[in-house]
């Protein structure tokens, strides 16, 4: 039981390049989330998904796209990276059952855009 995994762990991009971050969870969770963490800003929600084939915008969605083709996977894409997207990205998942309120986080991806 690996929980939430993220690929890659580190990446350096040049401005204008594109990339996809992969998140996978093996807990059969319905809900999945992408956050970015910046110094002094806490974790801010980028996009989230409430089920396979559905996605929605979070607090800071601009410059990102997401897809959830399979229940266990949630992809975050940057079509044209900008230095402002330098950050640490975390994926999380949670159960739809409101008795279980916590989100489970992956280890993060550190992205630098030059």
């Amino acid at each position: 039981n690996a929980g939430v995994t993220q690929t890659p762990k580190f990446r350096v991009l040049k401005t204008g390049q594109s990339m996809t971050l992969l998140c996978a969870q093996d807990m059969n969770h319905e809900y999945m989330y992408w956050y970015r963490q910046d110094p002094g800003m806490g974790l801010r929600l980028i996009h989230y998904s409430v089920g396979e084939g559905t996605t929605a915008k979070g607090e800071v969605p601009d410059g990102y796209n997401v897809s959830r083709l399979k229940k266990q996977n949630f992809l975050l894409g940057l079509e044209s990276a900008a230095p402002s997207q330098t950050s640490v990205y975390f994926c999380a998942s949670s159960s739809r059952d409101r008795r279980y309120n916590e989100q489970f986080f992956g280890p993060g991806t550190r992205l630098t855009v030059l």
């Binding site: 809900y31 956050y35 806490g42 309120n101 986080f105």
Partner: protein, 116 residues
């Protein structure tokens, strides 16, 4: 508009003493509050939580207090240990409803350092 605020960026305490981390919120629709702990180069891990219908929840060395009238919660760690040194985030969830989808709003985090 920061709905969840942790006004102390850092806190330093001596091993064995009490650590008190504070969190304020503005949204009265929040019904559930959580504390997460984060070590460097790792993802946040759930620590303890409290429902808005309670004012205290205890789990071993960790106790969370909720003061709804003041819109304030705090995390007490007693006794503090060097292994508790980490970043602590408080988070809040909007109450029952069709569109909350488990989304959490996080504070900025407080760096706790426990000295031996």
């Amino acid at each position: 508009d920061q709905q969840v605020k942790q006004n102390s960026p850092s806190l330093s305490v001596q091993e064995g003493r009490i650590s008190i981390l504070n969190c304020d919120y503005t949204n009265s629709m929040f019904d559930y509050f959580l504390w997460y702990k984060k070590y460097p180069a790792e993802g946040p891990t759930f620590l303890i939580s409290i429902s808005s219908i309670k004012d205290k929840n205890e789990d071993g060395r960790f106790t969370v207090f909720l003061n709804k009238s003041a819109k304030h919660l705090s995390l007490h760690i007693v006794p503090s240990q060097p292994g508790d040194s980490a970043v602590y985030f408080c988070a809040a969830r909007v109450g029952a409803g069709g569109t909350s989808y488990g989304k959490l709003t996080f504070g900025q985090g407080t760096i706790l350092t426990v000295h031996p």
